[in-house]
């Protein structure tokens, strides 16, 4: 008996063995269905779905870190610099006004269009 003949014989025997009565067949079908139900591919599908979703969220997060965060940080830094400059300017004006108002000369002397130039010229003579 060569290999092919052996295989045919096994198939024949299996075919014969599979001829079971209806009751046994029903029991077998029920058992198979139970087993299949227990081994449901649904949890696997759920996992795959969850994984995909995580991947998408991760994608958004990495996009946020790569693009949005630097833009937001740059914007914040620019706003902070601007605010700081404004404050510096305000502090400067504050100091200047305090000095000017308490100085030897009346306000009119500083409002005069020619006095500062006249004084400068005089001092250089």
């Amino acid at each position: 008996m060569n290999e092919t003949q052996f295989a045919l014989r096994v198939r024949q025997l299996l075919d014969q063995g599979a001829r079971v009565d209806a009751r046994v067949a029903a029991q077998l079908r029920a058992a198979r269905e139970r087993a299949l139900a227990r081994h449901s591919p649904l949890p696997m599908a759920g996992l795959a779905l969850a994984h995909e979703a995580m991947g998408r969220v991760g994608g958004v997060r990495s996009l946020a870190f790569r693009v949005l965060a630097p833009v937001a940080i740059l914007g914040t830094a620019l706003a902070a610099t601007y605010a700081w400059q404004q404050q510096q300017r305000a502090a400067e004006v504050e100091e200047l006004d305090a000095q000017l108002l308490s100085s030897d000369l009346p306000i009119d002397a500083y409002l005069d269009q020619g006095f500062a130039a006249w004084l400068k010229r005089r001092a250089s003579q």
């Binding site: 605010a83 404050q87 006004d97 108002l101 100085s103 002397a109 409002l111 006095f115 130039a117 005089r122």
Partner: protein, 134 residues
């Protein structure tokens, strides 16, 4: 990547925290919200205080903060000049500050007694005065 982002966030946070510390701006306050001390110093402005620009009010609160460090004569000058100063236009104030800077740059030993110089300048005939500086 995450580390770079963290570093950038740290820098931004440091900037934000450092900015107010560098020059803490005065808070804008209505007349009624000023302290008794501030009201006393800024009394010449009491009538128009609430009509001033917030920026101006903050400036005056800053001037009031410097007031105790001024000489008594300096304090008196500030008190008498305040009203006139707030009635100037922003352009006039800008011009006056500019002239103050220019005059301050003239070495004290060369400019002499400023008040006397001003008196002398005022006594000049109109033609003796130089053309307005551009």
């Amino acid at each position: 990547m995450a580390q770079a982002a963290r570093v950038a966030i740290a820098i931004a946070a440091a900037l934000l925290l450092a900015a107010p510390a560098a020059a803490a701006p005065e808070k804008d306050r209505r007349w009624a919200q000023l302290s008794g001390e501030q009201q006393k110093i800024l009394a010449p402005l009491s009538a128009e205080w609430d009509r001033l620009e917030p920026e101006q009010r903050r400036k005056w609160i800053g001037v009031a903060k410097r007031y105790p460090k001024m000489t008594p004569i300096g304090q008196k000058r500030v008190q008498t000049r305040m009203q006139k100063w707030v009635k100037l236009t922003p352009e006039q104030r800008k011009q006056a500050r500019e002239n103050y800077r220019r005059i301050s740059k003239v070495p004290p030993d060369k400019r002499g007694d400023l008040q006397r110089q001003w008196d002398e300048y005022q006594s000049l005939p109109p033609r003796g005065k130089p053309a307005p500086a551009k």
